[in-house]
């Protein structure tokens, strides 16, 4: 088993997060059942006071989840040398069937958390706790996701088995085992490019359209999610190839390394932010009808959409720059 400080930190973090969220969800359950705003009884006052604690705890947990997503990937990259055939994080994640699912769920938790935080922010802007019940009800849905994530991550760490020289005879590795799949398959570059520019193009247009037709905001939220998927596919299929200047190096994690000037951060940072805010902007729109929020929602939705749009725009521009300045020529090879 691999036990290094980062793993210890991640294990503590997920344990703490799961416990805190379970506690918060239990409170949420109580709140949903007994919330009565018109009452001034000490029970109600107690509930209201508690919401300050729970909201802070949940915000804390979600911030931790965001950081642990990064730490998880970084750590996977760091310990890759311990496994034969693993050249980077991809190899590490492939050592057991729990690696990539854990990562996937972590990403889902990130977006669930960001959406919850946006709704929470909106709730505090209303003068009569307009979304409190809904918010804590949603928590009951997100909490199990965090527990699943903790489970997958733990199983992943427990399954990590380094290939080290243990016995005195026959210590040859890689001979009879399958390759660790250090390569990720990608889509054909032309298809990936069409998908990427196409989906993001539509997203940008729809985003601008929301200024005139707010109802388009729901479409924008959906398109943000699709853009996320398209961007990931793009990164694996052609952007990484351009950055590494190698026609077969598809790894999406090596971009984050210092050898490549940490360029990955300029890709993933805006991407995650844009998607999170895009989904958030859609999430707040249904509440424009709530009386205490009617003049809060439109400007908030607009702000979220604007930041999201500029991040997506930056992403497109950055991908173009990476394509243009790369020494690799991909499209010229098609058909050869």
């Amino acid at each position: 088993m691999v036990v290094n400080p980062a793993i210890v930190a991640l294990a503590i973090a997920t344990l703490a997060s799961s416990l805190l969220l379970a506690y918060s969800a239990a409170f949420g359950w109580r709140l949903v059942r007994t919330w009565d705003l018109s009452s001034g009884s000490e029970l109600q006052l107690g509930l209201e006071r508690h919401t300050y604690l729970i909201s802070t705890l949940v915000a804390f947990v979600f911030a931790t989840e965001a950081i642990s997503l990064l730490l998880f990937v970084y750590n996977a990259d760091r310990i890759a040398p311990l496994f034969v055939g693993a050249m980077c994080a991809v190899g590490t994640l492939n050592t057991s069937p729990f690696g990539f699912p854990a990562l996937l769920v972590k990403v889902l938790v990130f977006f669930a958390a960001s959406t919850w935080l946006v709704l929470h922010h909106l709730d505090t802007r209303g003068y009569d706790y307009p979304l409190t019940r809904l918010k804590y009800g949603l928590l009951l849905a997100v909490a199990p996701l965090v527990v699943v994530e903790a489970y997958l991550q733990t199983r992943f760490f427990l399954a990590l088995d380094t290939d080290v020289i243990t016995s005195c005879c026959g210590s040859l590795f890689g001979a009879n085992r399958e390759a660790l799949g250090s390569e990720l398959a990608g889509l054909p570059p032309v298809l990936a490019m069409t998908l990427f520019y196409g989906v993001l193009g539509v997203t940008l247009v729809v985003g601008l359209a929301t200024r005139r037709w707010p109802a388009a905001g729901y479409a924008y939220a959906l398109l943000s999610a699709l853009s996320f998927a398209a961007s990931l596919a793009a990164i694996v299929s052609f952007v990484s190839l351009y950055v590494y200047e190698h026609p077969h190096h598809h790894c999406p994690f090596c971009l984050l390394k210092s050898e490549y000037g940490y360029q990955g951060y300029l890709l993933y940072g805006p991407l995650f932010l844009a998607t999170a805010l895009g989904i958030g902007s859609g999430a707040v729109r249904p509440f424009a009808r709530v009386p205490s929020l009617s003049d809060v929602v439109p400007p908030l939705a607009r702000r979220l959409t604007n930041v999201s749009l500029s991040m997506f725009f930056f992403l497109v521009v950055w991908v173009c720059i990476l394509t243009a300045r790369s020494g690799l020529v991909l499209l010229g090879n098609e058909g050869v």
Partner: protein, 222 residues
Amino acid sequence: MIELVDVRKAFNQGQHNELWAVRGVTLRLEANCTTVLRGPSGSGKTTLLTLIGCLARPTSGRVRLRGRDVSGMTERFLTGLRRQTFGFVFQQFNLVRGLTVEENVMLPAYPLGVSRPELRRRAHNLLESLDLAPHAQARAEWLSGGQAQRAAIARALVNDPAVILADEPTANLDTDLSHRFLDIVRDLKRKGKTLIMTSHDPLLYQAPEVDRVIGLRDGHLD
């Protein structure tokens, strides 16, 4: 301007030492009026003051501020409203030790993020009007009783609220200082402020500046 409808306030509800400080008070207070709540200790006048000033929420009953029901508001909004509308002067003055007088006066405006030069200007003007300008940089704990009270009044005025609430303002003052306090009351009246005070001091509730006296006994209106 401020309306209370059948408000009741209990402490330690559901426990063996449950206490109902206010038991069904219905009241209407007009703007620009100076009112004194009068009654013996334990009559609930201080608690009533906190309910009027939105410092506490009634256990039952409704409180309306300028026609708007504030009973079901989130703490954030209620506090925001309270900051804008009310200024409190406590019986014990309750200045923060370790801070200067000027800083104490500026405190209530911190959460609003008012720009610092603007805030200092406001504080300075208030201290001047209350003859405290020379003590602006003094530590709060060095002030005498009368000075401390004036500092507390300045603090209550920093957000330019419409209503000033004072709890037993003359309880810790001698006759001389009490008269000076009445001068301040007159001055505030002239500026169009609404004043609501609690007191069992006849010097205060019999003063000509007072427009209305409300008696309280055992949580009920007299």
